[in-house]
Structure formats: structure tokens, C-alpha cells
């Protein structure tokens, strides 16, 4: 029990943070309310240190026993805390903007009942906790609760992200479809329980092994797996559960969209790995599962990229691109242990950074207090905000997977993992999709840097807060510099659920860095 609590130390830190910011948000003192994003980021950094602490030294061995895929737990938690700290910079000045402005101008007295900033950041942290918990799920119930803990706060975050009907519409859509997806994968989990008689992954893994050795995996288990995957596919916006993405991403404020692009996606990818780990890649995934994943990967990549090509709104474009990136991720998920999981983790980190960077640029710009929408608004950004233009270009280049940026390293690992797993066709489709995506990512590079400012884009200004800009520049720097240490970012994971290898000392060492 104590071991388990130690393992959950980062989550506990963040929970304390969530409680604190929820209360602090009600403070009548403006400085405290202003400091909320900073406090959030601070707790995330402490949690990051806690992850490094928990996964280093002798404790690493203990952590390894308690988690389904030790390196996965350590790495995803570490990266998530870092990326979330970056994300929290984006939220500065977004929530309650009008209210705070009124209070400051003396038009309004501060009323804790109207203040949402504290709650927002509490939800922010709770959702992160959900993702962290996902990575150490050892049974289906835990996984389900963790997934829901990831998702539920995001519904509220979307709704309160900006005072606009579209945000509320997006939240409703997101919530109802999210509930539907939860029902689907819960049904899948139930069938898995029925097929194996256990909820615990390690026992389930043994049951599957016995079934493989015997008559093969029964239909009910296959149906359960497929339902679980399709349902969890909602979290990563994989076809056929992708359709909400564009509307929701567009409706939410840019900082929240950036959050949606990383946190639920990482949770979904991790959950898929853990569920698939129970049945095991060794000896091949069951045919229906493989087919589902394969079709989903192909359709997700292709529809995502083609969808993105057709968009004029930057956020919708990035929403579809986010769908496409889930398709690339699925290549790694199909490939499984060995390089596949490594590639998935690396790609999640890469995607988290570059996606956050791209949205940070959007979050840094506004027109008369409202978010910018169209690509055209970015025209000639170079002249007014050169740093933002360059940051956007770098992040878009990285999303495209252009060497030698971070996204390229991620994609390289995914493709190698795919080839290694014998999925050459899938890799070729991925390569062709990357080429398609060049069209729209080049727009994001070209319009700000090459385009001439138009009358419309002249009215675009930077937001008052400098932190989103700082986040954008920081992300761009990471996109350029992280490839240098990419070897240490890519923990080698050979063990599935069933096999609990000793934790990789290298990754623990890297985790401490």
C-alpha cells in the first residue's frame, strides 16, 4: 500500500495543487488570481520532479512491479507534466478575461461566485491527474476511472474557456459523444471481463495466453477488444470516432484546444497500449483487432489530412491535423513492443510539444479581444511578430515531420517500428499522407513568413499577456533542440504487460535530468 502511494506521489502533488488553486481562485486579491497559472505550472514542475524521484534509484524497481509498462509510466508521466506546464502558460489571461478586466476597471466588484479561473485550473490539474493515472492502470476499473477523470474536466474546460456560444455548443457535443464513447468502451471492458473472468491485466494476460494455447481467443473477447479500441479511439480522435474533433477544437479557446490535442490523446494512446498489452502483441494481435486498428489507422491518417486540406480556419486545420497524427500514432500502437511503444511515447512527447507550440501562436494573437480564425489573419505575421511567425513555421515544419525537427524523429521511429512489425504498406500510406500534409503545413509556414500583410491581418495584435508568446518560443526551441537528445527521449520498451522486465536504468537516469 505504501509502495502504491509512493508511486502515486506525482498525482498526489497535483491533487494538492488542484485543491489549492480551486480555493485560491476565489481570493478577492487580484494578484493571487493572476498567479493561478503560475501556481499550476509550479505544481506541475514539482510533480515532474516527483516522477523523476519515484522512477529513480531503488524506487524504480518498486514502481516497475506496480505498473503494467514501467518505462511507459515513467516517461509519459514525466513528459505530461512538462508539456502541461507549457500548456498552463497558454492559459494566462484567457479565463475570466472580461470579468477581470471589469474588476480592474472598477466597473464591477469581485464576486467569487462569478469567478471561474480557480475552477478552470483545478480541472486542468485533475485532467492531468487522470492521464497520469492511466499510465499506471493495472486493472480495467482503474483504467476506466482514470480515462473518465481525464475526460470529464475537459468538458467543463471547453465550456468555460471563452464566453461564446460556440464554446458551449462544443462542450455539449464533446460531452455527449464522450459519454457515448465511454459507454462503448465500458461495454467492451465488460465483455473482456466476461471472456477472461478477471479485471486485472496480468491475470487477463495469462487467461489470453491460455486461450491462445487452447481453442484460440473467443469471439466475445474479440468483440470486447474491438469495442474497447473503438471507444478509446474517441479520446485520440481516431476514425470512426473522430467527427467531433473539428467542431470541438474550433469551439474551444486556443489554450484549451491545445490541451485537448495532447491530454486526451495521450490518455487514449496509453489506454490502448495497456489494453492491447493484456492480449499481447507476441504471436500477433487477434485478427479482428488488427483489422480494426489497421483500417482505423489508414482512415484516420487519410481523412485527417484530406480534411485539413479543405479548411480555411487555422484551428479546424490543426484539428484535422490532430486527427491525422492519431493515425500515425496507431502505426506504433499496431507495431507494439520493441520499437512500437517507444515510438508511441516519443511521438506523444513530440506531438505534445509541437502542437502546443502551434496553438500557443494562435493563443498569442487576437483581433479586438477575439481569437483569430482564418489563415489569412496570419498573413505577413513576420513583419509584426517575427518570433511568432518563426515559431509557427518551426512547429508546422515539425508537425509535417520535416528533418531534422522533433516531429521527424518521432515519425522516423514510428515508421521504423511499422516496418519492423511488417506493416510496410501502412508505413507507405503514412508516408504518402505526410506528403499530403505538406500542402497545408506549408500554408502555415508560408502565409506568416512569405505572405504580405493584408488589411485584415493588419488588425491582428498580440494578446496583452506575454506568456503565450513565451510558450510558443519555448516550444519552438524544444522542437529544434530536443532531436539532439532524442536518443535519450526514446526509452526502449520490449516488455509487454505479461513480462515485467527490470526498469531501464537509462530511462531512469534520463528521467532525472
Amino acid at each position: 500500500m505504501a509502495d502504491r502511494l509512493l508511486l502515486l506521489l506525482p498525482e498526489l502533488v497535483l491533487f494538492a495543487g488542484a485543491v489549492l488553486v480551486a480555493v485560491a481562485g476565489l481570493s478577492p486579491r487580484r494578484e493571487i488570481r493572476r498567479a493561478l497559472p503560475g501556481i499550476t505550472a509550479g505544481f506541475l514542475l514539482v510533480a515532474m520532479a516527483a516522477v523523476a524521484f519515484v522512477h529513480s534509484g531503488e524506487r524504480a524497481a518498486v514502481a516497475a512491479v506496480l505498473t503494467p509498462m514501467p518505462a511507459l509510466t515513467g516517461w509519459v508521466r514525466l513528459a505530461t507534466c512538462g508539456i502541461a506546464a507549457l500548456l498552463s502558460l497558454l492559459t494566462v489571461g484567457t479565463i475570466d478575461r472580461r470579468l477581470e478586466a471589469d474588476v480592474q476597471a472598477g466597473r464591477l466588484d469581485f464576486n467569487p461566485l462569478m469567478a471561474g479561473r480557480g475552477e478552470f485550473h483545478a480541472f486542468f490539474l485533475l485532467s492531468i491527474i487522470g492521464l497520469l493515472l492511466c499510465t499506471s492502470a493495472t486493472d480495467l476499473i482503474w483504467l476506466f476511472v482514470a480515462l473518465e477523470l481525464t475526460s470529464l474536466p475537459t468538458y467543463v474546460m471547453v465550456a468555460m474557456s471563452r464566453p461564446s456560444r460556440r464554446a458551449q455548443e462544443a462542450a455539449m457535443k464533446y460531452f455527449f459523444l464522450g459519454a457515448l464513447s465511454a459507454a462503448i468502451f465500458l461495454y467492451g471492458f465488460a465483455l473482456l471481463y466476461g471472456a477472461t473472468g478477471t479485471l486485472i491485466f496480468s491475470e487477463m494476460s495469462a487467461a489470453f495466453a491460455a486461450q491462445r494455447a487452447g481453442d484460440g481467443i473467443p469471439l466475445v473477447a474479440n468483440v470486447g477488444l474491438v469495442l474497447a479500441i473503438v471507444g478509446i479511439g474517441y479520446k485520440i480522435a481516431a476514425v470512426p470516432m473522430h467527427f467531433y474533433a473539428a467542431d470541438v477544437y474550433e469551439g474551444a479557446a486556443a489554450p484549451v484546444t491545445a490541451f485537448l490535442g495532447y491530454v486526451p490523446k495521450a490518455a487514449g494512446a496509453v489506454a490502448m497500449l495497456i489494453v492491447l498489452g493484456a492480449v499481447g502483441w507476441e504471436g500477433g494481435l487477434p485478427e479482428p483487432v488488427l483489422t480494426t486498428l489497421w483500417m482505423s489507422a489508414v482512415l484516420t491518417m487519410t481523412l485527417g489530412n484530406i480534411g485539413a486540406l479543405l479548411q480555411k480556419s487555422v484551428k479546424r486545420m490543426l484539428a484535422y491535423s490532430s486527427i491525422a497524427h492519431s493515425g500515425y500514432l496507431l502505426i506504433g500502437i499496431i507495431a507494439g513492443p520493441g520499437l512500437g511503444i517507444t515510438a508511441v511515447i516519443l511521438y506523444l512527447v513530440a506531438y505534445g510539444v509541437m502542437n502546443t507550440g502551434a496553438f500557443a501562436v494562435l493563443a498569442s494573437l487576437e483581433r479586438r479581444g477575439r481569437e483569430i480564425e482564418d489563415v489569412e489573419d496570419l498573413a505577413g505575421l513576420r513583419h509584426r511578430h517575427p518570433a511568432l511567425a518563426v515559431a509557427l513555421a518551426l512547429c508546422a515544419g515539425s508537425l509535417l515531420g520535416f528533418p531534422p525537427l522533433l516531429g521527424f524523429v518521432g515519425k522516423l521511429y514510428l515508421f521504423i517500428a511499422g516496418v519492423e512489425a511488417g506493416q510496410v504498406l501502412l508505413v507507405v500510406i503514412g508516408a504518402i499522407n505526410s506528403a499530403i500534409s505538406a500542402w497545408y503545413y506549408l500554408i502555415l509556414v508560408g502565409v506568416p513568413i512569405l505572405g504580405a500583410p493584408t488589411a485584415r491581418s493588419e488588425t491582428v495584435d498580440a494578446v496583452p499577456s506575454r506568456w503565450p508568446r513565451v510558450a510558443a518560443v519555448l516550444a519552438a526551441v524544444l522542437v529544434v533542440l530536443l532531436p539532439i537528445v532524442a536518443a535519450r527521449l526514446a526509452p526502449r520498451i520490449d516488455a509487454g504487460t505479461a513480462v515485467r522486465a527490470a526498469p531501464d536504468p537509462a530511462s531512469a537516469a534520463a528521467a532525472r535530468r
Binding site: G397, P403, E420, A431, S434, L442, A452
Partner: protein, 597 residues
């Protein structure tokens, strides 16, 4: 060590231009003449790099024996065996030297043409130089790919910022075409690396290791797929016939230095890729598909030449002539005998020199007269005698006048193709034959026609200039304002120098840019042995695989009755339809292989 310098010096220069204090003062051309401006940093940097290159060439010990040298590098992604290792052999070192020669010339040639956004311009040029050098230096597959791909970015910006009126479209098309192709190339290269890891247990991306492995370790079915994947990227870059359409547009719209580098070096990345990877890595497939690729090359030669014939725009003409000329280069490679490949490698260098110089000359003309339409300009011999002298010289070099550089390479390529069937008995695969050479040879005739017609119109004949101060101003009015300055002024007037500031004929700076190329053209024309001696051994090694493959194939073929018929029938080389039959056979192979797989 010295190899890394070749890579790092330009990057250092680029960083200096981007972040250094000197650049700032030069914004908006206010102090364009300043000797600390970005253009001087770039010039000094490229000159120093070129000097380092010369030192490297003297240190290099593999000129005669075909070995690799100048090793350097660091580890990168250790768990996959990905490194940033470098080495060179004679072929890649020659191409590096070509790059190092052309870069300073390009920079000097841009002094008057580029007056706005100088920092970015020279910064990107230096980055481009680093990327191109990296391609030739790379000993690691992923490193190669990174550099290969990264050449796109500087070029994209060079075209998109400093190009002509269609520059946005040209840059986009250039980027998308090449990027699409090279994504597939990446997939093919990864497959080779995976096959090595799968069969031998360790991941490595070391090019010599993988090449040695791939020759023997891959089945012919796999080789065919890999050939297809590799060709997807390299053929676009070369460019080979059906995927060449990005080139004329990019060439025409690019600024002068961009065109020079594009023709001089970037296209060679494709043929270098064919030489370095395709020929030695997938010999079986190369032998099987050589006729098919050669036919594409010949179509490119003839088709490109015919299009040149009807061009009015001088720059477009030279651009299409690249399609035609690079066809020879590919034809020579796929002749699969030493003569042909030697010709091809020579062609890479000679084409870089002559066509690069032609683009420089056209740029100099354009800076003065703001048109490239040969109906609007003519008789420049009277106005610009020095320019005309160089123009005629380089046209002759490009046409392949014996005694100048172009002749030797073109002749070798054709000779290689011609004697390919004879060589079948000497151990080289030789799937081509006299017919291929005969058809390709028409390209030489056509080249002479279109280039000399162009020279006749622009250099000789009655003088008429677009500004109307020539004798035949009547021509100037009607045709194609689109090519002219009018359409240009709206967006890029700031990016281009004012022609009025230049004297009517070439300045000393411009002559200085052309002289080194001209000298090299003569030297290489008179003494091609300087290069061919150095090239003989590495080329033999590159061909050893396909020779062995064909030897193995001749042993194996009798067992495989249906393909054997087509192939041996082909050795006589009597018809144009045979390659198609071959290709069909080979496709059949692939399909069967896949079904088995």
C-alpha cells in the same frame, strides 16, 4: 574532422548572418555597399569553405584506389544505430568541390540582384550549401535523408521570396513534388535497414554496410519494390520524364543563384542518389528494369529538347534543357557499364558548370534588360560583347562541342548505352544497346538546334532591346508582358536591383564569376582524364553488384522460363518494344513475389 568543417562552416556563417550584429545594419539595403553586410559574410564564408574543400581534396587519399576517406562523425540515435557519420569517395568529393565552387560564384553573382531581405537570402544560401554538402558527405542513411530533404527548405524560401511573379506556385510545386517523392524514398531506405536488422539482428544505417547487405540479402522481389520506392524520390529530383514538371517552373521563377544551384547541384542529388543507392543496393532490380528507366530517360531527352525548341523565354529554355541533359545522365547510369557511369558522373559535374553558367548569364542579362523573351531582345553582341562571348562559349560547352567539357560526358554516356549489349559478354549487365544510343543521340542534335537558335536570336541578329533604345524596337511591344518587368514590379521591385545602376556590359565582378567556370570547362574538355582516372575505381565498385547480379541472372534465368525468354531476346537489342515486354515480365515477377509473400 575536415569533413565536419565543410558542413559546419556554412552553418556558422548562416548563424552569424542571422544573429550577428553586422546583418542588422544592412536591412532594406540602406548600406548595401557595406563590407560587413551579410553578403560579405556569406562571400567570405563560402570562400573559406572552398579553401577548406581544396585542403580536404589534397588530404583525401582515395583518388586512385576508389576508397573512402575523410571520416568523421558522432552518434545520434544509438538504439537504432543512427549516426551522423561522414565520409567521401572520389565521386562525392568531386560533387562537393563542384558545390564549393558554385556557391561563392552564386553569392558574388547576387550582389547586384538582391538588395532587399539580404540577411535571409544569404543565410538561406549558406544553409543550402551545408545541406547539399551533407548529402554528399553522409555515411549514414538517415543523415543522408535529413540533408537530402533539408535542401528543400532553403530553396523553398529562396524561390518563394526572391522569385519571379509565379514564385509562390513554383515554390509550392517544387516542395510538394520533391517531398512526396522522398517520403517514399525514406520508406524504401527504412525497409533496407529493417531487412538488415531482421536478418542480421542489429540496427544500422551505415550506408556501406547496408549496401553490402542489400546486394545479396534481399530477394529480387523486395529489390523491385525498393527500386520503386527509391526511384520515387530520386527520379523527381533528377528529374526523370513523367515527374519533371516542377523543374521548369521552379527554374524559371527562382532567382539567378537559385537556378544555378538548382541546376548545378540540387538536380545532381537525384543522380547521386541513383549512383550511390540504386545501382549498388538493388542490383537485381536495376538489371531487370534498366531498359524501362532508360526509355524514360530517352523520352525525357527528346521531349525536353523538343519543348526547348519552342520556348521564347530563354530561362525556361535552359530549364527544359536540364530535363533533356539529365536524361543523358540517367541513361549513362543505367547503361550499367564503366563507360556509361563515368560519362554520367562527368555529366553531373559538367552540366553543373555549363548550365550553371548559362543561368548566371541569363540572370545578368535580365538584370539589365528585365526580359528573357527572345522575341523582345536580340543582337546583344553589339551591346554586350563580353557577355556575348561568354554566352556563346557556354552554349557551345552545353551543346557538347568537342574540346569543351560537355562533349566528353555526353559522348561517354552515349557510348556506354551503345556498347551496353556488347558488354553483356564482358561481365557487365548491359541491358541497353545501340538503339537506345541512337534515339538518345537525337537529343544532341536537337540541343544544338535549340541552343544555337537561341544564341542566334539573342546574341546575333539585329539589335533590339525591350526599352526601345535598340534598332528594332518594334518587336518590343506585343509579346508576353508577363515575362517582363511590368508584372514583376508590384511585389518584387524591392527584391531586385535596379538595372540602371549596372553598366551595359559585364562588370569586373561578373566577369570574375564566369572566368573560373570557363577555365574549368576548357580544362575538363581537354583533359577529361583528370577526372576519369579518379572515377574509374569507385565506379567499378558501384557496378560490381549489378555485374554480379546479371551473372547470377544468366545462370538463374534458364530455370525461369518465361522471363528468360524476354531477357535473352533483349540482349540482341533490336526493338523499341522490348523494354516494355521486359518491364511487364519484371512486374509479373514482383506480383508473383508478393503473392508468395
Amino acid at each position: 574532422m575536415i569533413a565536419s568543417l565543410l558542413l559546419l562552416l556554412p552553418l556558422l556563417g548562416a548563424a552569424l548572418i542571422a544573429f550577428g550584429p553586422a546583418g542588422r545594419r544592412d536591412v532594406a539595403g540602406a548600406r548595401a555597399g557595406s563590407r560587413t553586410g551579410p553578403r560579405w559574410i556569406a562571400a567570405v564564408c563560402t570562400l573559406v569553405t572552398a579553401a577548406v574543400g581544396v585542403v580536404a581534396a589534397m588530404q583525401f587519399e582515395g583518388w586512385r584506389d576508389g576508397s573512402f576517406g575523410l571520416h568523421a562523425g558522432v552518434d545520434w540515435l544509438a538504439d537504432l544505430g543512427i549516426t551522423l557519420n561522414m565520409h567521401v569517395d572520389a565521386v562525392s568529393l568531386l560533387l562537393i568541390l563542384l558545390t564549393l565552387l558554385l556557391m561563392p560564384l552564386c553569392i558574388f553573382a547576387s550582389f547586384s540582384a538582391i538588395t532587399a531581405r539580404q540577411r535571409e537570402y544569404y543565410g538561406w544560401l549558406l544553409v543550402l550549401q551545408a545541406a547539399m554538402t551533407g548529402v554528399f558527405l553522409a555515411r549514414d542513411l538517415v543523415f543522408f535523408y535529413i540533408c537530402f530533404e533539408f535542401t528543400l527548405v532553403p530553396m523553398y524560401f529562396l524561390i518563394a521570396i526572391y522569385g519571379g511573379e509565379n514564385r509562390a506556385r513554383a515554390a509550392l510545386k517544387f516542395f510538394i513534388y520533391t517531398f512526396t517523392g522522398s517520403m517514399l524514398t525514406l520508406a524504401g531506405l527504412l525497409w533496407v535497414a529493417w531487412a538488415h536488422a531482421d536478418r542480421l539482428g542489429t540496427w544500422t544505417f551505415d550506408i556501406p554496410t547496408l549496401t553490402a547487405f542489400a546486394q545479396s540479402g534481399l530477394s529480387s522481389g523486395e529489390q523491385a519494390w525498393i527500386l520503386l520506392a527509391l526511384m520515387a524520390g530520386f527520379a523527381v529530383k533528377v528529374p526523370l520524364f513523367p515527374v519533371h514538371t516542377w523543374l521548369p517552373l521552379a527554374h524559371t521563377e527562382a532567382p539567378t543563384a537559385g537556378s544555378v544551384i538548382l541546376a548545378g547541384v540540387l538536380l545532381k542529388l537525384g543522380t547521386y542518389g541513383l549512383y550511390r543507392f540504386v545501382l549498388p543496393m538493388v542490383p537485381d532490380a536495376v538489371v531487370a528494369y534498366a531498359p524501362f528507366i532508360a526509355v524514360l530517360a530517352i523520352v525525357g531527352i527528346v521531349y525536353g529538347a523538343l519543348i526547348c525548341w519552342v520556348q521564347d523565354d530563354v530561362k525556361k529554355l535552359v530549364a527544359y534543357s536540364s530535363v533533356s541533359h539529365l536524361g543523358f545522365c540517367v541513361l549513362g547510369l543505367f547503361a550499367l557499364n564503366p563507360i556509361g557511369v563515368q560519362g554520367s558522373v562527368l555529366y553531373m559535374i559538367n552540366h553543373g558548370l555549363s548550365t550553371g553558367a548559362l543561368f548566371l548569364l541569363i540572370g545578368m542579362m535580365y538584370e539589365r534588360h528585365h526580359t528573357r523573351d527572345m522575341n523582345r531582345i536580340g543582337g546583344l553582341a553589339r551591346v554586350m560583347p563580353v557577355w556575348s562571348l561568354f554566352m556563346v562559349f557556354f552554349v557551345l560547352s552545353s551543346v557538347g562541342l568537342p574540346g569543351l567539357n560537355g562533349f566528353v560526358s555526353e559522348f561517354y554516356c552515349l557510348l556506354g548505352a551503345f556498347t551496353a549489349s556488347v558488354d553483356a559478354q564482358t561481365g557487365y549487365p548491359g541491358r541497353l544497346g545501340p538503339w537506345y544510343a541512337a534515339f538518345a543521340g537525337t537529343g544532341m542534335i536537337l540541343a544544338a538546334m535549340y541552343l544555337l537558335i537561341m544564341t542566334g536570336k539573342v546574341v546575333f541578329g539585329p539589335t533590339h532591346l525591350p526599352g526601345g533604345h535598340g534598332h528594332g524596337g518594334g518587336h518590343g511591344g506585343g509579346h508576353g508582358g508577363g515575362h517582363g518587368h511590368a508584372g514583376h514590379a508590384g511585389h518584387a521591385a524591392d527584391a531586385h536591383g535596379d538595372g540602371a545602376a549596372l553598366p551595359p556590359d559585364l562588370t569586373r565582378r561578373e566577369i570574375g564569376v564566369l572566368i573560373p567556370i570557363a577555365l574549368l570547362c576548357i580544362v575538363l574538355g581537354v583533359r577529361p582524364g583528370l577526372l576519369t582516372d579518379a572515377l574509374a575505381r569507385p565506379i567499378e565498385q558501384a557496378l560490381a553488384a549489378s555485374a554480379a547480379a546479371s551473372a547470377a541472372a544468366t545462370v538463374a534465368r534458364p530455370q525461369d522460363a518465361d522471363t528468360g525468354g524476354g531477357a535473352s531476346g533483349h540482349a540482341e537489342g533490336t526493338g523499341d518494344d522490348l523494354p516494355r515486354a521486359d518491364a511487364a515480365d519484371a512486374t509479373g515477377d514482383v506480383v508473383r513475389e508478393r503473392v508468395r509473400g
